[in-house]
């Protein structure tokens, strides 16, 4: 199976025998079982599957939001599975941009402040450069004029653009998105997908969980999950 999940370029992400089991009142539930996966730099890869297939678990493990029960996860030179929570937070802030289905912008901060937040926590840019950088990112994503509004004043598409700008704030090499278009209408979803495609063209690796096969044309590769296992390793599009 491993050779079927090979990237077309130098691998940025490498998962080896990754499993995740949750303990619950109902017993042990296997969310992922023995997953091997590699994603190359600059790839735009879709993780596809039905609800409960393990997509979100895989995304959570990739971003260090959750830790594997077994297996190894390496992103660039970082052994993600071996990091503690503080180290994970630092690594995530500097190296990974995360985009959520429900945007998850902090409601009490303006759009620009939301974008500045990762720079603030990680200290990646000098304070005086943070706002200009946030405004620049927002302008690139076409919502520069919304910078000083609160998130609730923005449409869903605009909020997701803001969330992407926040994910790009620290210029990470990896963008991870969990159903980023799941809460958007089809036209807005297309716009958002074009932004992700642009990011990939700019050299960033993009891994996205989605169940919308209509968007398949944007992905260089698709990995299909079912019951926690990779069942359809690759797609043919470029």
């Amino acid at each position: 199976m491993a050779e079927q999940n090979q990237p077309r370029s130098i691998p940025l992400i490498s998962l080896r025998g990754v499993s995740k089991i949750y303990e619950s009142a109902a017993g042990r539930v296997g969310a992922l079982e023995d997953v091997d996966l590699e994603v190359g730099s600059g790839e735009l890869v879709a993780i596809i599957g039905k609800s409960g297939s393990g997509k979100s678990t895989l995304i959570n493990l990739l971003t260090g939001i959750d830790s594997p029960t077994a297996g190894q996860i390496r992103v660039a030179a970082t052994e993600v599975h071996s990091l503690g929570q503080e180290a994970l937070a630092r690594w995530r802030g500097r190296s990974v941009g995360i985009v959520f289905q429900f945007f998850q912008l902090l409601p009490s901060l303006t759009v620009a402040e939301n974008v500045m937040l990762p720079m603030d926590f990680c200290g990646t840019y000098p304070p005086r450069e943070r706002r200009p950088r946030a405004l620049g990112l927002l302008a690139e994503l076409g919502i520069g004029d919304q910078a000083d509004k609160l998130p609730t004043a923005l449409s869903g598409g605009q909020q997701q653009r803001a969330a992407i700008a926040r994910a790009l704030a620290n210029d990470p090499s990896l963008l991870v998105a969990d159903e980023p278009t799941g809460n958007l209408d089809s036209r807005t979803a297309e716009d958002v997908m074009q932004l992700f495609a642009a990011c990939a063209r700019a050299g960033k690796t993009v891994v996205m969980a989605t169940h919308e096969r209509d968007l398949g044309r944007y992905f260089a590769r698709s990995v299909t999950l079912a019951d926690g296992r990779v069942v359809e390793p690759a797609s043919a599009r470029s």
Binding site: N60, Q85, R90, Q104, L106, L109, E113, L117, D120, F121
Partner: protein, 802 residues
Amino acid sequence: MSLAPRWRKLLGDIRDGQGRLVMMVAAIAVGVFAVTAMSTGYTILKREIRRGYLATNPAAALLEVERLDDALVAGVRRQPGIIAAEASGRLRGRVEVRPDEWLPLLLFVTPELRTAQIATVELGAGRWPATPGEIVLERTALPVANGVVGGSITVQLPTGAPHALTITGAVHDASLAPAWQEQTVYGYVTPATIEFLGGDANLHTLKLTVRDPGGDRAGLERTSVGVAQWLAGEGHPSSEIRIPPYQHPHESQMTSVVRMLLVFSALTLVLGAVLTGTLTASLLAPQVRQIAVMKAVGAGSRQILALYATLVLGVGLAAVALGLPLGIAAGRALAANTAQLLNLELSSLAVPAWLYVVEVLAGVGIPLLAALVPIDAATHRPVRECLAEFGIDAPSRRPNAWLGRLPLLARDTALVLAVRNALRRRGRLLLTLGLLATAGALFMTSLNVKSAWQQNLVEATAERHFDAEIYLTHPQSRATALAAVRAVPGVRRIEPYSAESVAPERADGLNLVTTYPDGGHGSLRLQAVPLGSEFVAPHLLEGKWLSLPDADEVVLNEGALAMLPGVRVGAGIQLRVRGRVLGARVVGLIREHLTPASVYLTPATLERHTGTAGLTSGLRLSFERADADSVAASIAATERALAASGVKVALSISQIALGRALGGHLFILIFILLVMSLLMGAVGVLGLASAIATGVLERTREFAVLRAVGAQAATIQRSVIAEGVFVALLSVLVAVVVSVPLTAIVARVVGTASLGPALDVIVSGRALPIWLGIVVVAAAVASAIPAWRASRLTIREALAYQ
């Protein structure tokens, strides 16, 4: 430079959580206020009571000698260890405070009042007496004697006729308890005035000061005994050596009571801090996802912890800014009030700076520590778990299925939900219960102690089935005295009664006691009461009451037992009375309320040992009518009858006057306890409101589901309010249990502070219903707002809640 986004986020949280933050500030401010008030009061009082006492240059020891002259005093000054010595006198008499109504008078005699060096008093008004027939009174004695500076009072010594004395001034004697508390008038006169009153003008009390008087007690005893032996060698034996505890008579009581209040105030601060913890948890409850998002975009747990710790730090500082000045003012007021109770002059209301520093650190630090628990928990929750929170928690333990089968709950799902929700978050329930139960326990303790104190007074009265005691100038014919009084109309019953001052016998034969300068505090009394007395109702703790008319048997009360170390029922004791040794066996131990340390024996035994056969030194009487006016009139008639029979009266004291002395001054303590319990109650109710509000927030989606399946707004309201009331009822149960040992502790402190054993542990009949009413109503009101909010949410809003 503009504020960093994380701090802007914090400002946003402050804006959104204003209500909770105000509650936090209020809760901590209440604690800071209480601690500051008590510690300020304690620090001032502790310092001032010591300073005031030491400023009088108190005598380390006092020796009673038949007659002192200048040469003898000069000789004493040369004895080893003696710093200074002065001759003085102390006499007991009486003063007429209303026509035919007399109170005890304690006269301190000094040849030159203005130049006295030992046990000095400070002239506050008027002038020193210059001629015979003049007196200065202790300032607290003026109202007791119904006198004014420039006016006159009628005074009588046991050996003389009543005389009017001019009050030339008022002094402050920091070594004495206030006159109104003791119902004794303190006067200061020269020997010339004693002569004018018909008394013995000779000075007989030798006041000594020594090196390190407050230090080595054994050394002080050796020095005093050395002086007594030297005096004996000079032909002037000492009839009594008094080594009073080197402190104000009420210092130890004041210290223990204020310390207890200090502990309770610290408890208030801890409760406030715990509330801060629960409020912080409720503040963070809606932030769970936002914290997760911040962590997802790179925030470390420590960064988020620092963010919210700063918030709590700010809250603590605001609370300190509010509570500290109010606490200082209240503490100073407490000190001033207590100083008045203790007859203290406060030279300064200053408090050392370190105390403020400690209070600020406690006010900021303790709540911060309490808040760090939920902050730490929130910041360390896994990001995945927080992002996946749906607002419908699975119970962490088994879901108490049996609750639904209880007959009371089975018919109402809202009640089942209320009880299950209350039990769902065990940690939060325990905190809320802790807050409310502690407040309830203290409230009930306050009322219990108040009841016990009232019961104490009732029992003290019940133990004394007489209306008045008449002390004679010296032992006189019992038969004559009884015959004289029997003819007095209104006298219901009369019994002979004798009381003597005694001391444990020592190997050197000296009479050494620890009585205070007022002659009352710290004294041990021998009381002779007839067998079958109707005036004494002993509450026997051990052994038996006196049963043989003339046997060497004595019964002790608990106060006496405490003063005679090593003595127990069945043991023999040797006492020195009137210069003779009285050996007896202790046959019983009794409990008495508001009575000094006493040793009881029969009149025949006392007479045999003191050579006073057929004599009595006093009488006890009951009258047909026991109101104040009737008692005063009957006492006056009795005294006239005794005088007509040649029996000389030194002093008469009615039980009503004694009741005035014992009555009210501990109510200040109970009042403070009540105020403190209500402050704690307020903190507890805030805690309950916060816990319910947090629960409602966490269960927003659950309410939406309930609404979606048909629950009406009223059902949700009923469920939330019932949850609050259920927690309140649980807290009352805990409070009742906790209040019993707490009452015992406070009763012990209060009992010791009021001349006797611990107060009885009485459960006030009113305490439980009052607290139950307060807490249930408060819980219902505190739950009503979150209940209303929960019921107002639309299903769409609630399901969309993040």
